[in-house]
Amino acid sequence: MIFKKKAAQNAEVNSSGENAIANKEIEGLSQGQIVRRRFFRHRAAVFSLGVILFIVVFVFTALDFRFLGIWHVKGWWKWSPEDIPDLRYGDCPNDTVGCPTISLLPKALGGNGIGLGDHPFGQDDIGRDFFSLVMKGTQRSLSVMVVIGFLGGTIGTIVGSISGYYRGKVDAVLMRFTDFIITIPAIIIGSVVGYHFGNLGAIFLAFYLGLFAWTGLSRLVRGEFLTLREREFVDAARVAGASNRRIIFKHILPNAVGVIIVSVTLLLSGAILLETALSYIGFGVVEPDVSLGLLINKYQDSFTTRPWLFWYPGLFIISIALSINFIGDGLRDAFDPRQRRRISKKERQESASARKLAQAHD
């Protein structure tokens, strides 16, 4: 069964051929359509996209949503992180308190039936519902991720493309500025900000981290621009009288978008880990604000005693980071026009026979 599928895949891959121009499959499609098609063929990426979308919707609708005090949407989950319900004593394993009420084992098999219970992920030390804490933490971590990704992506792309396109003095100045930013450890900024404005919350943290996260991307984009600007289509655009801005944004950038998207996805999954690492040293999100990084730091010790406090936030971190990476992987493959190529067995044999032939002629 598995092998049939693989064979089918092989066939498909082979038929796509090497040359994009000769490729029937994508004839007459815009680049967007090609990319979409290819992306949706990457099963892991599509699955991950589903997971991420699910997590986002699930998490952002769970708790009450307030916006500037005007807009207030009720969440579907009964507790909020501010509530302090009674702590569950007595019936938890190993004399612990606040164990999770989630149950996945049906009654027929000796379990408690399938259900969430009052506190599916358990409760923290003082009885707060851990599910709501994880939900809020995930919201924060996702927001941090998006802000860092957006800021880092935008700045990196702009600096990199200007630098790579104009070369010369502009490039020198911008790249040395990039070097300058590289030398300043973000953690120092973290400590200053944490010390003076520790209570400004996760989004602020994400904002300043984003201001320092773009350096790698800008170097990549610059490299891409340096090669692309020498290509024929750019010359053509220039001859046709296109302005520099138009060439950069309409002609070169779409060709570099693969590189950008891939690094931005890496940046996103890196961001969630960076926030966790900062929490470990004490410069991350500060309580009473919650983030996934903060939660798993706080409950490192719980690993053997109250494992639910350690695993649930960890599970969310891993699922998010993993999904983002797979989506990035899918996008990378989708954006690379030459990507659908693999060495088939047939070709190997052909090459071997060619070799024999060559030897025979020796």
Binding site: D95, T96, Y195, V286, K298, L309
Partner: protein, 614 residues
Amino acid sequence: MKLNRNAKYAFAVAAAAALAVSLLTPAQAATRSTVILHETNPITGLNCSLSATNSTTCSAVSYLQGAGFNYYNNKKELVKNTIFGSYKITKKSATDFRVQYTVNPGRVWSDGTPIDGVDLLLSHVLGSDAYSIAAGLGDPKSKTAKPAFNGLGYSGVYADNIVGEPVLSADKMSVTLQYKKPIANWDLYGPGPAAVHTLVLMADGKTSLQTAAVNQDAKDRFLAAFKAKDTALLKKMGKIWSEDYTITTVDSKTNPLLLVSNGGFILDSAVAKTSVTLVKNPKYNSGPAMSGTIDKVVFKFIGDGTAAAQALANGELDVYAGQATADGVAKLKAISAVNLVGVNNVAYEHWDLHYDTVPDEAPYTGLFSVKDGAKSLALRKAFLLAIPRNEIMEKLIAPINGVTTPIQSTWVSPGSATYDKVTAANGSAFYSRGTQETRNASALALVQKYYPNALKQPLKVRVLVPGNNPRRASEFALAKANMAKVGFELVGDVRTDWPSKLGNSDYDAYFFAWVASSVTQRQSAEVFDTNGGNNILGYSNPAVDGIISTLDVPMSDSLLAAKYIQIERLTNADAVTIGVFVHPGVVAVNKDLKNVKPAPLSPQMVWNYWEWTY
């Protein structure tokens, strides 16, 4: 090809296994004689009296290497070390107070040099500002120049009260100190022995242990220099004392003169920021005899608590000491080879309410300002009543050490002899009688007397919340939830720079912990005295000031307790502060290691090292 290789691999392994002979049976390990202790922070030097090296770890390491006239035990009592020497008051009047310290004959340093009264004189150089100035060693209070002995001992009680210089007896075994008045806790400020001859030798540039005659000569030279205030020699010694002991690596290349000491152990080796190894001092006779089987003690520095607990579980540590968390304790309990010992730290958590403007701050006009008279008093009382102290204890402290009752006094700590007597009469009952529900009810009544609408329009209370501290975040969350029931809305300002914000008029309430690293009669006086250094509330009550001013003379325990009761009655009536819990610590000890009795005060768990045994 891979398969091919694997096949060969398997064949070969099979052949080797066939050839392999001896099946092992693990041998029984011999009785251990080594203790590996965990410390969170590394030592930064061997002389703990410098600002660069001062730490609890350093005190513990040097305690093993040095014995003096007294030490703190695990009940916070100061115990006399009669094996080393003795001390007594020889004269006591309102203007002349003398104490004589005598070293028992026959005590020796680890290099064999006898210890005598001369070795006690260096304490004076290190503690007296006047001597430092007179001997040309520099003014310790100077803003620009460091004194020759750049230590932390100056400008204290000793410097303020000492008269003249210590007088050495004819047989050179005792020194007598003269103070200008009887001072409370005078036994804390007495001299300690220092191997002055090594300082002189090192000032001469010596880098190896010397003969007895040379050592004696060096000691005599110090005595002469001390008496004559010989700036040149003392300065050279001061440079050695201030700079040469800040080493963190000790190996065969280290000057052995730096390591001469009189404790049960001497320093053998140290790896910077990693560990310190001490071995038994064969010439030790300055303290209780070593009754145990320990001949090597290793301090291992591990900053990460989880890592240290896992190291303990893996048998890499024998004693773990750390900040306790509920999970940490549960985890340690689960390790079968380990005994868990609870210990109280010296820090106590409390809530403070702003009373009046603190000097150098903007005027305080908030909710609790004393200027509002009866109204603010009622609000302060209501606030203290509504702090859910029992809930905090049950949820945050009991899982660690099982203690469920909050502390009732901020002057004496639970477990001390007079605690029950003081708390029975100090007015703390007002804040702890009944249940939290009844207390909430009385708090609400107090609030509604002035703000009938408080439940609908709660009074905003601005609280300074220490950042980066999970326990305090939980504590605040609990308080906030309960306060809502009596008409207070707590507005927390979470700050990591909170110590510099204490006393700031932007806050109505604070909660944090004071650290009391010694037991003195003045105890919490600095917090409540109008001009006290720790008075962050702007608290001022002439009656309290009056009682505090009488605490400076030595007095009996019962009289002292009576004074504490008087003070606490007043402060409780003014409703300015309330204690919650003593910070719990946890010590986990290898089950085979006996007699480890952790203590709250420095040197903490090593205080009775001579009793340790496997």
